[in-house]
Amino acid sequence: MRSLASVAVGDTLGPVTLPVTRDTLVAYANASGDQNPIHQDEDFARSVGLPDVIAHGMWTMGAAGTVVAEWAGDAGRVVEYGTRFTKPVVVPVGGGEVVVEGTVKAVDAETGRVTVDVTATSEGQKVLGRCVAVVRLD
């Protein structure tokens, strides 16, 4: 695990490029229980005015969270995590990608809480807004 003493405000994570395919979304639908067809069925997605299949917002949040968890070195150390969903991640038949970066905004030496601002973009657009994770390090 990353040590608290080694972390400073301004430290950066990534960028990490995460591929996402339609198979990813089927796997996520099964694991999460969210079977909304806009995440799997191109014809259905277009019928409700979307450009194509879109990723679950929660997939994007989860995948971006993985970048923070791997930086911390223990996924069980993510104690707070929140975001707004600002734009959908479009997943064409050939797949799409999300680029995730983070910046350490605060380090509390007493509690070990480290606050990380996360940005996630797809095709140059921010897909998560005010995305902040707090990890607890020793």
Binding site: T24, S32, G62, A69, A75, G76, E80
Partner: protein
């Protein structure tokens, strides 16, 4: 139909229990691309101080959304699910969800407000084990897009 503001403050009876097992955790971790061994290797998880393999932080949404259903499916709530977009999500973890947990979710409708012709509904689900251990506080904002009626 507008979202019914009379539901604000309402708390539903606990939903579940939902069993958490290693296969579900492994599947969720794979779907979000997490290769951290604390999700899949009980020895690694125990070495890190956990009772068993731990769920990725956002897996709590599975149980929060299962707990939401009684509310969003209630015709009196006035939520047209075909018009729902997920606006915000936040988790505060009290301890990681771990294989072997039996999870119950208690849903409270915190706010219903109107903005730009849409309804914004804030719900809060407190996840705990059947034994009473607090697991996570999950706060969600859904946006119910306004119609042209």
């Amino acid at each position: 139909m507008a979202v019914n503001p009379d539901f604000v403050g309402r708390t539903y009876p606990p939903s579940g229990p939902y069993a958490v097992d290693a296969a579900l955790i492994a599947a969720f971790a794979a779907a979000v691309g997490s290769t951290d061994p604390v999700h899949t290797d009980p020895e690694a998880a125990r070495a890190a101080g956990y009772a068993d393999v731990v769920a990725p932080p956002t897996m709590a949404v599975r149980f929060a959304q299962a707990s939401d259903r009684a509310y969003v499916a209630d015709p009196e709530a006035g939520i047209d699910y075909s018009r729902v977009v997920h606006g915000e999500q936040r988790f505060v973890h009290h301890r990681p969800i771990t294989a072997g947990d039996e999870v119950v979710g208690t849903l409270t409708v915190d706010a219903v407000r109107q903005a730009g012709g849409h309804s914004m509904v804030t719900t809060r689900t407190e996840l705990a084990t059947t034994g009473g251990d607090a697991l996570a506080t999950c706060t969600s904002v859904i946006v119910v897009r306004g119609g042209e009626e």
